[in-house]
Point group: C2
Chain length 415, copies 2
C-alpha cells in the first residue's frame, strides 16, 4: 500500500530552504511508492496541531514548483521548538504520531539546522519504539554553515553571495568622499564566523573589506583600534566586517555593551549590536567619521541574489533525503561532500542524524590569518565556488515572482 | 578650435549616477567638437584643487563604459559643498576658472541634485560675467526624486526597485512564524516620501507593506498605534514602511526621540532612527514582538538590482545635457517628461537650472490615502513603469563587475 509524504520546515528562514522543499516534492512526483504529498505548517508545531496542507495540487504545476525554488524563507512556515525527550512528554509524542497515522504518513522529511536534526533524531527513535513504520529524514539548511558532517550547508551560499555583493557595492559607495571614514558592517553569526568571512569575496572585485572579525577569535579593543588606525593610513575609506557574535577575551559579547544600563524613553534597554558598539568606539577613540550598517534579515532572504549553485544543491539534498527514505532509511540527514574545487564538484550521501544534531562547525583557526583580522587564501578557495552563477529570480513587471503555500483552516496560534 | 569636456559628480551617490556619466562620455565620443574628456575628482572640489583625471583613455573601451553603467555610487568621487555667492569669494571662483582655462574646458557637466544645480547656476552666471565661454550644464540625479521640473529623477527608479524587492522578500521572511510580530522598515527621505512610497510596489506580488508613513503627513503616535492594532487583527505579520524624516504635528522629527538625553558608554547621544523609535513604541504599547530594519546605504548603491529603465534614462539625460551645451546652451539642466504610462514613454529636454536649484518636489496629498497611512492607485501607476526590467549587472564568478576611475596624483584631502 502506498504511503503519503509529509514535509515540514524549521528554524531560521534562508533563501534556499524552499529549493529543498521543491527537491523533495520533485522526487516524490516521480515515485510510484509515494501517494499524497502534504506539508505541515509552522514546522513540527503543524504536526502536533494537525495543521496540514495538500502540496500535491499546487506543486504538480512545474511553473509553481519553479516559483517555489526562487521564493525566500519557509513557504510552509517555520518554528523554533525543541522537543522534550520522549519519556518526558508522552502526550506530545502521541499527538504527533496521531497526525502521522491520520494522514497515513510513511515518510517524514524535516528541513532544518542542527536543532531540527535533534527533532528528527527523537522522532526516528520514537517511531522505531512504536514500530509505526514512519521513516524520518532530515534535510539540511542553515545560512550559518555550522552543520557538521557536510562540506557546507544549503542556504549559506546564497547568504554569502548577498554579503559579498553588498560589500562590493558598499565599497563603491563608501569611497566617494575624500574624508576619512570607517564603515562597520555587522553580519549574522552568533557562534560561528562563516557568513562574516564570506565578505572577503568582495576582495575579488574591490578593496573592501579591509578587516574581518569572527567569533572564533577573542576580540581585543586595543588591537581593533590599532588595526583601524593602520588601515586609515593607507585608505580614506575603511570597511570592517564584524560578526554579531564577537566576544571579548572574558567571553562577554561585544554587542551587549550598548545595553549596559542605557534605556530609551520607555525605560527599555537599548539593544545595541556589535556594529553599533564598534562605531561608537571608532568615533570616540579614532575621532573620524564612523557609521554602522546591519545587514539584518536581508542577508537571509535576498532570493533575487541567490546563488544558483546553492539552489541546485539545496534541491538535490531534498531529493536525496526522500530517496534514502524510499530505500528504507530512517534517522538520516542528507549531506554533500566536495570532491574538487576546480572544476567544482560534489557528491551526495546521507549520514546518521546524530552526527549533525546539536553540534556546531566552527571556522578552523588556520583559515583565519595570524593577526586574527582577516581570512586566508584557503578560506577564499573554499568560498568562491559557492556563490557562482548570475542573479536569480524570475521577474514580472520588474518584481520577483514568489510562491505562497495554500493555507489550511487557520488554527488558533500559539505564541 | 576644439574645446575639452569636464564632468563631475556631486551629492549623495546613487545606482544610476555613473550611467549619466557614461551617457555624457558616450555623446562626447561621437562629437567632432569635443576634444579631451576629463573628470574632476570629488565634485567641484576637484575643479577647485585641479584634481583632474583623463577619462578618454579608459572609457573609449566600450567594455569599460558598460561596466561604468552598472557601477553604483560616483566613480569620480563626490562632495557636499555649496559654493558661496561669487561676490563673497572671488578667490575661490578664480581658482575654479583657472582650472577651466588650464585644461581648455569648453563644456562642464555637473551631475547632481538640487544643491548641485545651485552650483551650476552660480558658475554659469559667473562664466557669462567673465565672458570665458565655458558652457555650464547640469544633469540630474537623486534617489529622493525631489527634483522639480521633471517627472522623476534618475537614481530614484533603481532605489525604488531595491526597496520594492526588499519589502517583497521581507514579507516572505516575516510571516514564517505563527506569532504576532511587527516589522518596521526605515527608508531614506528626510523631507520627501517618494522612496518610502515605493515600498507599496511590493503589494503587486505580496501583502506587505501594510502601512506606509511619509514625511508629508504629520505623524500621530496614537493613530499609528491604532493602525498597527487594526492590522494585527487581520494578520500575524505586519510590515510598516516609515520615512526617516517623519515628524510629529509639532514639527519635531520622530527619529530624534531616541537621542533625547540617552547616551552610550562614552557619553555620546544615541542616534536612534524613526524605525527604532517606532519599534520601541510597538513593543511598549502594543506588547507584541517588534523589530526594526534600516535599509541604510544598500537602498542607494544596490546596482545589481538597478532598474534598466532608470539606467537607460540616466544615460540619455547625460547625453542630452552635453547635446544642449554643444548646441550653445548654458545654465540648463536636462529633464524628462512622461508622455504616457502604457506604453510607458518619455521625452527629453532641458530647462533653465533655476527652475530646479534649491527647490524640492513633495508627494502630492492626493497620492496619499485619506487616513495618511498608505498611498493611492495614482501613486502606484506612477511608480510601476520605473522599476521595470530584469536584474542588472554583468557578473564574473558570481560577483558584479565594477568600473573604478583612474586616480590622478593624490592631493591632500580636506575634511
Amino acid at each position: 500500500m502506498r504511503k503519503n509524504l509529509l514535509i515540514a520546515q524549521s528554524g531560521g528562514p534562508t533563501a534556499a530552504i524552499n529549493a529543498t522543499l521543491a527537491g523533495v516534492v520533485e522526487r516524490a512526483l516521480t515515485s510510484s511508492e509515494v501517494g499524497g504529498i502534504y506539508g505541515a505548517r509552522f514546522g513540527i508545531k503543524g504536526v502536533l496541531k494537525d495543521d496540514i496542507v495538500d502540496l500535491g495540487e499546487p506543486l504538480t504545476d512545474p511553473k509553481q514548483l519553479g516559483h517555489l525554488m526562487h521564493t525566500p524563507a519557509a513557504a510552509l512556515g517555520s518554528c523554533r521548538m525543541k522537543l522534550p525527550a520522549p519519556g518526558e512528554a508522552p502526550d506530545l509524542y502521541d499527538a504527533i504520531f496521531k497526525t502521522f497515522a491520520k494522514w497515513n504518513i510513511g515518510y517524514f522529511v524535516y528541513i532544518g539546522g542542527n536543532d531540527s536534526m535533534d527533532t528528527v533524531q527523537k522522532l526516528s527513535a520514537c517511531a522505531e519504539d512504536r514500530n509505526c513504520g514512519v521513516r524520518m529524514m532530515g534535510a539540511p539548511k542553515t545560512i550559518d554553515n555550522d552543520l557538521c558532517g557536510m562540506d557546507h550547508s544549503p542556504g549559506f551560499g546564497s547568504a554569502a553571495k548577498y554579503i559579498a555583493t553588498t560589500f562590493s557595492e558598499l565599497w563603491c559607495d563608501c569611497r566617494v568622499y575624500d574624508v576619512p571614514a570607517v564603515t562597520i558592517v555587522e553580519v549574522m553569526g552568533r557562534h560561528v564566523g562563516w557568513l562574516t568571512a564570506s565578505s572577503a569575496l568582495a576582495r575579488v572585485t574591490g578593496d573592501a573589506p579591509h578587516l574581518i572579525y569572527l567569533p572564533e577569535i577573542p576580540f581585543e579593543e586595543e588591537r581593533f583600534l590599532a588595526d583601524v588606525r593602520g588601515q586609515l593610513e593607507k585608505n580614506d575609506a575603511v570597511i570592517v566586517a564584524v560578526s554579531e557574535g564577537v566576544r571579548r577575551p572574558d567571553g562577554s559579547f561585544v554587542g551587549e555593551e550598548g545595553q549596559n544600563g542605557v534605556t530609551d524613553v520607555f525605560g527599555h534597554k537599548y539593544l545595541s549590536g556589535a556594529g553599533q558598539v564598534l562605531e561608537s568606539l571608532v568615533r570616540e577613540k579614532v575621532g573620524c567619521k564612523a557609521r554602522s550598517i546591519d545587514l539584518s534579515l536581508m542577508q537571509r532572504c535576498s532570493a533575487h541574489l541567490a546563488s544558483s549553485v546553492d539552489l541546485r544543491e539545496a534541491r538535490l539534498l531534498g531529493g536525496t533525503a526522500l530517496d534514502r527514505a524510499l530505500a528504507g532509511g530512517t534517522g538520516q540527514m542528507s549531506v554533500l561532500r566536495r570532491l574538487s574545487n576546480s572544476p567544482y564538484s560534489v557528491e551526495y550521501d546521507t549520514i546518521p542524524v546524530e552526527e549533525a544534531a546539536n553540534l556546531e562547525k566552527f571556522v578552523p583557526r588556520e583559515w583565519i590569518n595570524e593577526e586574527g583580522n582577516f581570512v586566508t587564501l584557503d578560506m577564499m578557495q573554499y568560498l568562491v565556488p559557492l556563490i557562482d552563477g548570475s542573479f536569480g529570480s524570475e521577474t514580472r513587471r520588474g518584481m520577483p515572482v514568489h510562491f505562497f503555500a495554500p493555507k489550511a483552516h487557520r488554527q488558533d496560534s500559539e505564541a
